[in-house]
Amino acid sequence: MTTAEISRERPIRTGSYPELTWQAVLVGYFLGAIITLSIGYASLILGFSIEGSELAAILGFGILRGIMRRTSIIENNINQTIASAVNGASAGMMFSVPALFILGQTEFNPVLMVFGCIAGGVLGIAFIIPLRKQMIDFERLAYPGGIAVAAILKSPGAGLHKAILLLGGAAVSAGVHSISQLTGFENWQLGNLIGMPQYMNGVWYISLLTIGVGFLAGKGGVYFIVGGYVCYWILAPLLAALGLLPTPQTLTEMATSMPSYLRLQLFRPVGIGMLIGGALTGIALALPLVVSAVRSMQMAAKTKTPLSQDEMPIRLLYIGISLATLLLLVIAYNSVAEMGLLRGVIMALLGTLWIWVAGVVLSECIGRTNWSPLSGMTLIAVTILIIISSGLGDKAAIISSVMVGAAACVAMAQATDLMLDLKTGYLVGAIPRRQQIGQFLGTWLGPILVMILIFVLHKAYTLGSDRLPAPQGTALASMISGILGGEVPVEKYVAGAGLGALLSASGIGGLGILVGLGFYLPFNIVLTYTIGTLLRLWSDWKKGKQWSEGVGVPVAAGLIVGEALVGVGFALYYVITGALGSA
């Protein structure tokens, strides 16, 4: 029987195509809650968060299509948008809030913190919505994660061949990641085997997901990997030749390794500066397009054409931004008794401004490479906030800056998550306004769940203990201690900003951000990512773009999905064994 004959046996459906339905909203909440708790808990052990969209899309498939007999790709897109919006809080809060517990500053108001994170989420979404046209329609950023989710959503109609490629890729990737997780073999020390100097950092990250992401990002990822090679294969050998690298004995005294020293002390601060300088220059250069996108939304609101129904009314966004900023002001003012109105206003306004800037930086990064430097942007936010709150005393400064910083962190996570989902929506033909409503609908639930989870886990195991190390929170806590002790690499940030601005002004789209991200991320990721990038360049060149799209993209999407699912599987394992008290 041919595909066409099989199709003809399926029912023809009339009436409207289900999209933003109550079923999608409720299943989105349900899946979002499960994913948030699982991933949130896992991130306290593993030290990183996982984007929940792929998992939500697949589970949504099972529930919406399998159990509830629903039949709409775009309804599952809404479900996945809401679920990942709920999960946005786990990425944002698990990096920031545990730092308060680790620093012993637990006398904060958790209700206020939850409201702050909800306000942050609303701000992140409202600020990024007007940039949808600029990033997706005009710049056509790749958003590899968004492509992978679209491939999952479209799989019922994409045909057996593509479904097999997707599942095959997922199976291989899941297998490799399972072995890696079970054996602890997460990095391959090829550099050591071939006698490469330590400063050249020849360590490969064992991750087919990373290869898949590199493939989907395609040419866009080339400059990202260039950033990494500049650091470890050009600058590091130059530093070695000049005799400026620490000796093995010094490294032992510093309790660090050469790659960690290079990354944390030298390259990462410059990379953070590059991301900011590159993004701000990019915004300045793209200002006519951004203005045009906003103007188009304003016109759409006035003319009320059928097309305008696709966009969120800009006036509603202005109201949302105003109310959320006001809420952030109330939270900053009430965060500690010592705050004072003027300082509270400055904190809220700078927090809001940073949410916008960082939202753009992260959305560009994730759009071009699928990596989001959330921790770096949060670090800058907390640094700025601590500088403003200095004079209140360490305790008040820590509590107030982490409270507003957590709101900024959730905002950034929501902004990047929404842009990924909007890219998926573009590829499956969703109406942006309905997705944006879905994202707003999912924003309130995550902060409540994550705050409860944090308190329960802290009471049971103590955050920062061996049982629950909370690596991200620990890192932020040590950075806060460093900032309070005056250790802020301001010169590196400023120099990085200049370099990022220089590259972004060169005329190659997002160059400062891409190279900056190569400076920022560990080189083992860059090396593995290179394989994906080279495979894409090779397949476009030798096999043609149609082959890349028809065969390469489903396999690459499968690689992402398989590893993400196994990652979540291990997270669930930790949740269950943690509940049983046996882990």
Binding site: T14, D137, P489, S506
Partner: protein
């Protein structure tokens, strides 16, 4: 000139980056600024030569022709598909879309920046905004077809046609304006 510009950018960037990472505590600002100025001179050279090259009649004409031809074919194909929609089985729309559109849509997208070079950024934004709506509607037809929603396929096929036609009209409108 362009090669020299890139050389200055790369040299300026590497020089600046090296001076920024020589020590953990400080940056050698004097050398850093020299490197940045060299890089900035490179940026100016590259942007000037790129702008000049992009405005060169031959390169622009080739890209604009690609844009016009691919969009014209998209409009022709979607008009035909829309005309024949009553006779097409709802589950078959997605196969027709996969056959008829990917190559032209990709060609248009790859050459799209020529619109900005020739007619300005506002015109680029106008055309891309309409084109992207058309493409999104076409993707919706694909999804609705995979799920068998016949009315949705018909409605959004019409909407996609309107958008692609409007994008082509906008391109035609821009030509006399540019010549004037």
């Amino acid at each position: 000139m362009k090669a020299l510009g890139y050389l200055l950018i790369v040299g300026g960037f590497l020089g600046g980056a090296l001076t920024a990472v020589l020590e953990t505590e400080r940056v050698y600002w004097e050398i850093f600024l020299v490197a940045i100025v060299a890089g900035a001179a490179g940026v100016a050279l590259v942007r000037l030569t790129t702008l000049r090259a992009a405005r060169e009649a031959e390169a622009l004409a080739a890209n604009i022709q690609n844009i016009r031809q691919s969009l014209t074919r998209v409009v022709e194909n979607i008009t035909t598909l829309n005309r024949e929609k009553e006779s097409i089985h709802p589950y078959d729309f997605r196969h027709r879309i996969d056959e008829l559109f990917p190559v032209d849509l990709t060609t248009f997208v790859e050459a799209r920046e020529a619109i900005g070079h020739l007619y300005g950024l506002q015109a680029y934004a106008d055309v891309m905004s309409i084109f992207a709506s058309g493409e999104r509607y076409l993707n919706r037809v694909w999804s609705a077809s995979a799920d068998g929603y016949i009315h949705e396929c018909h409605t959004y096929l019409g909407k996609a046609r309107e958008q692609f036609t409007a994008a082509l009209d906008k391109l035609h409108e821009l030509e006399p304006a540019a010549q004037a």
